[in-house]
């Protein structure tokens, strides 16, 4: 286990509702709606907590007809607190590999044939998608707003939002109606 994994475990468990979920799952597998009923939470709140626990590797899920069934990953919970707390930091190349894999997945799910399906809500995903769009522009070259919008509109219809976001993310600069890609 790496230090990054350990941090995710500690963060995900430092919440009373998630501890109660783990406690409920210790008695057996359960689906979202049942956990929601037992813990007096909305199903979407349970799904939110489950995502955190899944990211930390504490629970696993599987689809069963209309339900998502969750179970505990006992091997992770059986680790001693000492071994988790004393884990080593992730090696740089492993971290890089993980980030590249994440980036690949985001691009795969948000782009279809060079078109952006929808603008992601999460900032991290949004930045990845905008970096892909930024590749359509040469660094340092000057573009008029019309040229810029023309290129972006081939990727997604909401070119105004994308243009504004790319400026606020520091990918583009605007000076007197002239745009430049800076990274």
């Amino acid at each position: 286990m790496t230090q990054e994994n350990a941090l995710r475990i500690f963060k995900s468990l430092s919440d009373m509702s998630r501890l109660r979920i783990v406690q409920s799952l210790s008695k057996g597998e359960m689906y979202t709606e049942l956990l929601a009923e037992r813990l007096d939470l909305t199903p979407s709140t349970v799904s939110f907590h489950m995502k955190k626990l899944e990211e930390a590797g504490i629970v696993s899920s599987r689809k069963e007809q209309y339900y998502t069934v969750y179970s505990l990953n006992k091997d992770v919970l059986d680790e001693s607190l000492f071994s988790v707390a004393a884990s080593e930091p992730e090696k740089v190349d492993e971290q890089q590999k993980r980030e590249e894999e994440y980036r690949r997945k985001v691009i795969e799910s948000f782009f279809d044939g060079g078109k952006l399906r929808s603008i992601p809500v999460q900032r991290k995903k949004k930045v990845i998608c905008y970096e892909v769009i930024a590749e359509k522009f040469d660094i340092g070259k000057e573009y008029s707003e019309k040229e810029l919008d023309g290129i972006i509109s081939q990727i997604h219809e909401d070119y105004c939002t994308i243009r504004r976001d790319m400026i606020s993310e520091g990918m583009l600069t605007r000076d007197g109606g002239i745009y430049k890609r800076i990274r």
Binding site: M16, S44, S118, Q122
Partner: protein, 111 residues
């Protein structure tokens, strides 16, 4: 109308109590979701105060603004669900639930 405004203020206070309780129980994420709920009652209070007293606007303008919120936040919820964003799904659901509560109380307002 005063009864409605009082109800909104009561909901803000109730949400604040709930936030304190959730934080004390070590449920910070749910406390953050509750902050979204509190903000909705505050926004609706501000909007109502600003619009209903204007002779040309009145109740219809308040209702129209609530409907605009409903449209915008429903779209935001759809986007959050489509992108698998669990946190924003809960936040948008919380906002819409509070708004529906406000709209149902507003329906009883006569003047």
């Amino acid at each position: 109308m005063h009864g409605f405004l009082e109800y909104l203020i009561e909901q803000v206070k109730a949400a604040e109590e709930e936030i304190k309780k959730l934080e004390a129980e070590g449920r910070q994420d749910e406390a953050d979701f509750c902050k979204a709920k509190r903000n909705i009652y505050e926004i609706c209070n501000t909007v109502t105060n600003a619009l209903w007293s204007r002779p040309e606007a009145g109740l219809k303008a308040v209702k129209a603004q609530f409907e605009r919120f409903r449209t915008q936040w429903s779209a935001a919820l759809d986007r959050a669900k489509a992108s698998g964003d669990a946190r924003n799904t809960v936040i948008e659901e919380t906002k819409l639930a509070a708004l529906e509560d406000v709209i149902s109380h507003f329906a009883e307002v006569r003047s």
